[in-house]
Subunit: 538 residues, 2 copies
Amino acid sequence: MGKPRRKFWGWGYEGDVLSPDEIRWLESAWAKQFRISQFEVTPTPAVEEIHLRPSRLAIPARLVQICTTEQYERLLHSYGYSFPDSARKFARDFSNPPDVIAYPRNEQDVLALLDWCYDAGAAVIPFGGGTSVVGGVEPPRDYPAVVTIDMKRMNRVLEIDPVSQTALIQAGTPGPELERQLKPGGLTLRFFPQSFEYSTLGGWIATHAGGHFATLHTHIDDVVESLQAVTPIGMMESRRFPASGAGPDPDRLWLGSEGILGIVTQAWVRLVKQPAFRSASTVQFQDFFSAVEAVRAISQAALYPANCRLLDPLEALINAQGDGKHAVLVLAFESADHPVNEWLKRALELCADYGGEYDTQTINQKDAHRSGAAGQWRERFLRMPWLREELTARGIISDTFETAITWERFPTLYTSVKEATERAVKEATGQPGVVSCRLTHIYPDGPAVYFTFDGLGNKSALVDQFWTIKKAASYALLKAGGTITHHHAVGRDHRQWYDQERPEVFATALGAVKSTYDPKWLLNPGVLIDPQRASPAR
Amino acid sequence: MGKPRRKFWGWGYEGDVLSPDEIRWLESAWAKQFRISQFEVTPTPAVEEIHLRPSRLAIPARLVQICTTEQYERLLHSYGYSFPDSARKFARDFSNPPDVIAYPRNEQDVLALLDWCYDAGAAVIPFGGGTSVVGGVEPPRDYPAVVTIDMKRMNRVLEIDPVSQTALIQAGTPGPELERQLKPGGLTLRFFPQSFEYSTLGGWIATHAGGHFATLHTHIDDVVESLQAVTPIGMMESRRFPASGAGPDPDRLWLGSEGILGIVTQAWVRLVKQPAFRSASTVQFQDFFSAVEAVRAISQAALYPANCRLLDPLEALINAQGDGKHAVLVLAFESADHPVNEWLKRALELCADYGGEYDTQTINQKDAHRSGAAGQWRERFLRMPWLREELTARGIISDTFETAITWERFPTLYTSVKEATERAVKEATGQPGVVSCRLTHIYPDGPAVYFTFDGLGNKSALVDQFWTIKKAASYALLKAGGTITHHHAVGRDHRQWYDQERPEVFATALGAVKSTYDPKWLLNPGVLIDPQRASPAR
């Protein structure tokens, strides 16, 4: 027995599953929701039962130490964590695995791997935690071979600057490992996406990942001080500055680049001290749109809550935060420096202005985020990825999508996207499903909006059924003026809507940079942009 | 008599000069500083006394309505507002004026102008308020002709969204005009660079301009929601989103692009309500580096003061804020929503931790920014550009430069840059000059640092003397790890240091985009990047 391995079919490590009690409880809730008596449960796939296409690429002697064609590794790197990924895993469909998985130990290894792929004409998939929910790590089909470069061995905090409160961290470092290495210095990145357990700093940078904070530093973008990346034409390394007015920001080209320009290898990031003060409360609103107005008032008052999650009545009910009639706002302030009661008090006054009701006994203690509604929320939030395999095994289509929109267009977006998605669930599955919504991050000019939907699918058609819903929802988002993604990235799955939202003249620029850095267009092909953009028509 | 015209040799409108009393007071202070009895004052140049090279370009009939070759206009558009610009104006050196000044009324005019310049092979200088202090609007010499496109006719607020608190504003709108048009809606951009009176939204965007706020929204970058620009290959228009995770941010390529990619024509920007609450105080420190520690503590405590300007003892003395022995911190909080006493109180506690002393009777009123030390500061700050012509006329070399650096490297940068600049002033002018410093903006990982120097020059050698000092200061900045500019931009004057700080691989990307948007490299040539980058060696 070696170290526990990650499940190639689901979240977590092999053997690490929900308890029978938990499953019984969930199953009965789902059975009730979909009005069926019993689920037929597809067993989880085993490594041995999958027949994989043999690797099409021979590993050169100089790279054998950092490359493998081992079956389990190829299975693990075949997909990300979207619903269609899960459905195909349970359908034992691993028809297009990567040929080789490489584990570079340093920048020189990355350079050597890119050289080799360039010689072989192999497509290159940069891989952090592999937690993409938008097809970001899926091997393309039209290449002679595919090499997935998994950054997990580059997982160290290289340097901590306690004065400027920054650290130089290797790109392959996953959330918990990063926090573990920072802890002795009393500092933390405090960046907690739902994928925290596996996703990596490099992956966060490549995908504009969204973290813990509902305001101000919402994306990893806001905490990157400088970065280093390897491209086929050489190493890119930006300098450490708190800010600079010298030309377009070089780092911004990499934030959200999704592996098409090269591989991020390390970055200096801004840290904070552990919060010592927290104040939190939960506010109930009879009317969802009044609650939205309260949240807008809070965001425009520049109070900067750490948490400001507004659940619509259905979302609140599902997350055991409400009665299904009230919208619920989970509100929390935190600081490493000073008590934040005054901030919370003012935010609650604004809530009251819009009919918000709350217990005057607000939580005001060090572990506010672990108790009360905020704590319940946190627990459910982190538990979510574990449910996927149980849902898929029962043929339940379940997924989320997110956007951002200016305040004045939010009500229309909310109504039209919810309706379009509900209609599509019914059309795809024949039964009404559940579509709920929450605001996850707030900006002075608008919210990030997160939708969750589910429906009982047909196991032989899950992927098609999913796409019927996903397309309807995405078109509705685009039509209402929202972006196709606030923090899930574009990947391969959001391409058709991204192509419509992205300015044409910018696509030309991106194609020009791509052609310069990656003249053979081998880096993560299919993500963000296609080779047709290599020679723009003038 | 028509409308008052801007002085082509200095700040403000013709006839709008310092009072005789003010001049007498300044002259006696300067005479004392440089130990001379009297200044010989060069008279301001007159339009008529300059012999200009005839325009090398004939204006086509279709563009006569929006183009001119008038002498005054060509003089006004020959230079920006740096010290060498001022010295050359007073030396009557207008040897390389633009050939034509164009005033587009809309995007179609801009497109037509770019087409014409492309046909004629003429270089194009985008011009906002013309307040560049880094040679950003200076015509290049190696082109058959130069057309300056002055955006002043595109000066309207097109739309206000009171719900999302944003507005769509034309790029040629200068600060006061923009605020005037926003005022009826009760909103403000609250973006106040020193050049506020003339500089424009488009210029701010093209140069990463820095504004009013010492923390959070320090640059125009932070308030741009979306933008529209005209390039030789077409119009670029990004969508309005509060945030998006869809690919690299298209707007960020334009922020700091300094006119090399095209001309920004309009933008949606985030507004705020007029502040209703203000709390301010002034703190004295015996030791400058202890004051720096206090400022660092404030920035890392996430208190977000609106103003947090730390003057070193000499800078404080010059600005009538101190006795020359104490460092002085001007600290102010503001809010449209809530009292900010608690915030100020905590910031002052942090100051006390580092030996800061302050009057416990802190200012706490609506016009805190207009009274006390903050008010004095504001007045001097806004008066500064007016002094330039009086200084130059007396042969006094006087200029500022700025950088940003992480906290742990700040003490070394401060000492080494101050020393290098003092040494260079002495070397260039034969006499010691004055080099003072202030922190203007603060970030959790470091400050923006602003140096002011002056020295008594020799009128026949002012530009050379200036460059001796500027080069020494800039090399010292680079060596100490600072950026060559925090908010003055790169222009032509900062090129050699920008080229060293910019990652090589990013220069290749910028060259590729430039070649795609502007295949003949006619847009603002010499700024940011040279045509040699058009065909990167692979």
